[in-house]
């Protein structure tokens, strides 16, 4: 086998140094009745050229072009070439978790930079080293809020990504957590007065998403203010992280009562390919005073014993390898390489580039909405301001976007359409033309 260096001669020499005559002897501790005395039933081994043929033919069976107007939590943004050039360095992608700080400073500094970028984007004080993805990050945020508030009831907007809500439900159901839904209004957003009435004294936290699953931009600061007034914590979820380049971040208000307590989300938009759903990169940011309730890895700055500055995994007494069943989470990893992709993405586009990308998303989406209004009988049904997604009710099968009938049956035959900066005007025109008449 080409990935195993030792030849038959090497193996024999090693066996003789061990003092045995066959490899089989090394397995003597496994009872004979448990041994598999046949070969596994697997496809015959393929050479490298055969593997390339195998995978190319499968890749060709996936339609990439038709994904252009599909979003729903996974967005197609342009990915600068240098990201792949840098993350393809073995030094990054074949390295282990940076437990040995002296020989992992590259990974550690890059994570520290990721934490800083996420804190800047969300307007929060601190962020962790990343979590599996947005959906599990939201589940961890709910568990974190339960620990902080010692309460069990959560209000979750129906406009939070339906799969995220499902994941939160799976995590929460054995921990005494109860979830009530917050309805959306005809403008596609939450009504603040109704929300305030809905927050009873036993509510641990209010969970909203912005831009929400319909693409509408929520008034997260007003929501945080109302939530805090009723004594609950404010959790804001962000599936479309690019939008943080232009929208006022959930943490970014001069008044503390108008800022969120936990901001979580998905960083896939920041230079990570859709990859049929993963791997992506979840993030979690919060206030400094909640740091010890945070799940997941954290990198901190420190000094070695000669006073040289360096980075190290820190506050690990929260984690499972020390605390076992009393840990803040069972998480034992982060998404380092995807976090690195996001970090390189943000370094590459810079603050101006990020804002321009956001503007192109907003303007192209606006163009698509207007063209649909002008040239078809359909309308974007929610008038609230939008970033790069919107909902249209159509008659008949729509060849574009994500059908919503199974997720929001009350919307009838609706689709969620997405227009990012990667879509050209002529593609939007062609899409509008092909909508069912």
């Amino acid at each position: 086998m080409r990935y195993i260096p030792n030849s038959a001669a090497d193996r024999n020499q090693m066996l003789s140094e061990i003092g045995i005559d066959s490899i089989e002897r090394l397995f003597a501790g496994i009872p004979e009745k448990l041994r598999l005395r046949r070969l596994l039933d697997l496809p015959k081994p393929l050479t490298e050229p055969e593997l390339i043929e195998y995978f190319q033919s499968r890749a060709a069976k996936n339609s990439v072009a038709e994904a252009a107007f599909v979003g729903g939590g996974i967005y197609r943004h342009y990915i600068p070439i240098i990201i792949d050039a840098l993350i393809s360095r073995s030094e990054f992608y074949t390295a282990y978790t940076p437990y040995q700080a002296e020989i992992a400073q590259g990974t550690l500094q890059a994570i520290f930079e990721f934490q800083t970028y996420i804190a800047q984007l969300t307007g929060m004080e601190v962020a962790n080293a990343s979590l599996y993805d947005g959906s599990t990050a939201l589940a961890e945020a709910v568990l974190m809020a339960q620990r902080i508030s010692k309460k069990n009831r959560f209000l979750v907007a129906r406009t939070v990504h339906p799969e995220y809500r499902a994941v939160v439900g799976t995590y929460a159901k054995n921990l005494g957590i109860e979830m009530d839904l917050i309805e959306y209004e005809t403008d596609g957003r939450i009504d603040l007065e109704k929300l305030e009435r809905q927050i009873a004294a036993d509510v641990a936290a209010v969970v909203v998403q912005s831009p929400n699953f319909f693409g509408s931009i929520e008034r997260t600061h007003d929501i945080s203010e109302v939530t805090h007034r009723r004594g609950a914590l404010s959790i804001v979820n962000v599936c479309e992280a690019i939008a943080l380049g232009i929208l006022k971040p959930p943490g970014g208000d001069a008044l503390e009562e108008r800022t969120a307590d936990i901001v979580v989300g998905e960083g896939q938009s920041l230079g990570v390919p859709p990859s049929f759903g993963g791997p992506h990169v979840g993030f979690l940011a919060t206030r400094e005073r909640y740091v010890r309730q945070m799940p997941g890895r954290l990198v901190g700055m420190g000094k070695d014993y000669s006073g040289r500055a360096g980075f190290v995994l820190t506050l690990s007494t929260r984690e499972q390898h020390i605390r076992r069943e009393k840990a803040t989470s069972n998480i034992c990893t982060n998404q380092s390489l995807c976090a690195l992709m996001a970090t390189i993405y943000l370094a590459t586009v810079g603050p101006k580039g990020l804002r321009e990308i956001c503007e192109h998303n907003i303007l192209k989406t606006d163009y698509a909405v207007n063209e649909i209004g002008r040239r078809t009988k359909y309308r974007a049904i929610f008038p609230a301001p939008r970033f790069n997604e919107f909902v249209v009710q159509v008659s008949g099968d729509c060849p574009y976007g994500l059908p919503l009938s199974h997720l929001y049956p009350e919307l009838g035959n609706a689709v969620l359409l997405c227009v990012t900066e990667t879509v050209r005007r002529h593609e939007i025109d062609a899409m509008v033309q092909r909508l069912p008449s």
Binding site: M1, L26, L46, L51, T116, L175, P279, I331, E421
Partner: protein, 496 residues
């Protein structure tokens, strides 16, 4: 230069934080010109919802970005540079073709929300991997949804719970041997279970008689690692499974150590009901500096109804689709269907090996570990005399006499050009040194490591100070971790 110490002084370029680099006006990125009518954004979105500039974000050129991250990269140890003897982590070579295949446009840009007839290739990849993993583990069905090993544990235990609930009683306890990985109790706790610890015997395995006293109708399952974290095969595993099953409890296996047994023995054949498999260990998906991983879960028929939804099914014409009609499912454990990028890599590795190749992988992984054991057992105290498979655990008992501890030995190895082994785990071995070389190391690389370990044993006797203050060849020395945790600095901030 001696053969023994294979590191030498080498320049590495200092680099500030990226937030301290660049200058206003630099760019590394240009957008194509806007091809729709230009408008001011505040005409479309209430200005109160828009942000000011993002303070502190640097402006950089393409060269700045490349230099910055390239310089950082040179500060890392990595598997392409040399042996990573981390016990329980299975740090093996990551074949380059895996990386090339996952970047094919049809995989990298496939969207899971396209209709299934537009993603048949992706669905076929996932189904094929499920089939291979079921055969390798001897199980009946597989979910690829969990994102990592610990996430797989959570998925598996939630399924155990759902199984018991479907029979009227979720039960209360999960039994976990004291040698287990810390994620096991943490995963069981967030599934709503109480943990009871099973003490290990003098042989380093689960003590069947003592276990018999712990198993009752309150026990939902045992979480067992086999071979265990000492590298020892639980030779009474079939009897353990029988004992649990006789009281209606299930057997969860932590599959972290599957690299020891492919084609040799199968969890499904020795009584396991559910296990997770770490694709980033046994199946060569890269560790990426700490993720992403992937933790598929394989189950026996009795647990199949409880798999997270969707599962991949085939219609009568043979077309694949995501099947959501799963009334007994535990629900979703992650959005979409897992880390597809890792699934492509793992399948590529399995297809490259075939059945005979995977058996050879396990045989040589075990040979390499036993070679190290034979060569080091006079210089370091073996934690247990029982035969071991793919890894071996020593302790620092002999070195401790000179006040040299396991942590020092690991750090000193860095000066010899190797990554330290897993240290201080499993917790039942004081001063544990846990070594797993994997099959992708040559005899020369193993000999270099052995010589380094023998040399450190000698140094510990003759000049312990050099070991206790190691490493001496790195950019920075040991970090004051307690100091870093006392006043945590978790982000950069602009100078006030």
């Amino acid at each position: 230069m001696s053969d023994l110490q294979r590191t030498s002084a080498h320049f590495s370029v200092n680099e500030r934080l990226i937030f301290e680099e660049g200058s206003p006006g630099r760019r590394a990125f240009d957008l194509p010109a806007l091809d729709v009518p230009a408008k001011a954004v505040h005409e479309l979105i209430d200005p109160k919802l828009l942000r000011d500039d993002i303070g502190g974000m640097p402006e950089l050129s393409e060269v700045d970005v490349i230099r910055h991250f390239t310089r950082l990269s040179t500060w890392n140890y990595h598997i392409d540079l040399g042996l990573y003897p981390l016990g329980s982590c299975t740090m093996k070579y990551n074949p380059k073709i895996n990386e090339r295949m996952v970047r094919l446009e049809g995989f990298a840009f496939a969207h899971p929300y396209l209709p299934s007839d537009r993603v048949q290739g992706a669905l076929e990849i996932q189904k094929s991997l499920e089939t291979c993993l079921a055969e390798i583990s001897g199980m009946d069905a597989v979910t690829l949804q969990p994102a990592a090993g610990a996430h797989g544990e959570l998925t598996g235990i939630l399924m155990v719970r759902a199984y018991h609930e479907s029979r009227g009683n979720p039960r209360k306890k999960i039994l976990i041997p004291d040698s287990a990985h810390g994620t096991n109790p943490a995963s069981a706790a967030i599934s709503g279970y109480v943990i009871e610890t099973v003490p290990s015997s003098k042989k380093g395995t689960v003590d069947l008689d003592r276990l018999a006293h712990l198993v009752n109708e309150d026990v939902a399952a045992i979480m067992i690692t086999n071979p265990n974290t000492l590298g020892i095969f639980e030779s009474e595993i079939a009897e353990i499974a029988e004992l649990l099953h006789s009281r209606g409890a299930l057997v969860y296996m932590d599959g972290a150590n599957l690299n020891a047994m492919m084609g040799i023995t199968r969890p499904g054949d020795f009584g396991v009901d559910v296990l997770h498999i770490n694709l980033h260990k046994t199946f060569t998906t890269p560790h990426g500096g700490g993720g992403p991983g992937a933790g598929p879960v394989a189950v026996k028929k009795i647990l199949e109804p409880f798999l997270p939804y969707p599962v991949i099914s085939q219609n009568p014409q043979g077309a694949y689709f995501f099947d959501y009609a799963r009334p007994q499912s535990i629900g979703k454990i992650k959005a979409y269907n897992g880390h597809f990028g890792m699934h492509v890599r793992a399948l590529c590795y399995i297809l490259a090996n075939g059945a005979a190749g995977l058996k050879e992988v396990s045989e040589i992984a075990v040979l390499n570990a036993n070679y190290i054991r034979a060569k080091l057992k006079n210089a370091y105290a073996l934690a247990y005399e029982s035969p071991t498979l793919h890894e071996v655990v020593f302790s620092d008992r002999l070195q401790e006499r000179k006040d040299v501890h396991v942590w020092d030995i690991g750090k000193r190895l860095i000066d010899y050009g190797f990554h330290p082994p897993t240290v201080s785990f499993p917790l039942i071995v004081p001063g544990a040194i846990m070594i797993e070389p994997t099959e992708t190391e040559s005899k020369q690389e193993l000999d270099g490591f052995i010589q380094a370990m023998l040399s450190i044993a000698k140094e510990s006797e003759e000049k312990p100070e050099i070991v206790k203050t190691a490493p001496h060849t790195t950019r920075i020395g040991r970090i004051d971790e307690a100091g870093a945790a006392r006043r945590p600095v978790l982000r950069w901030k602009p100078e006030p």
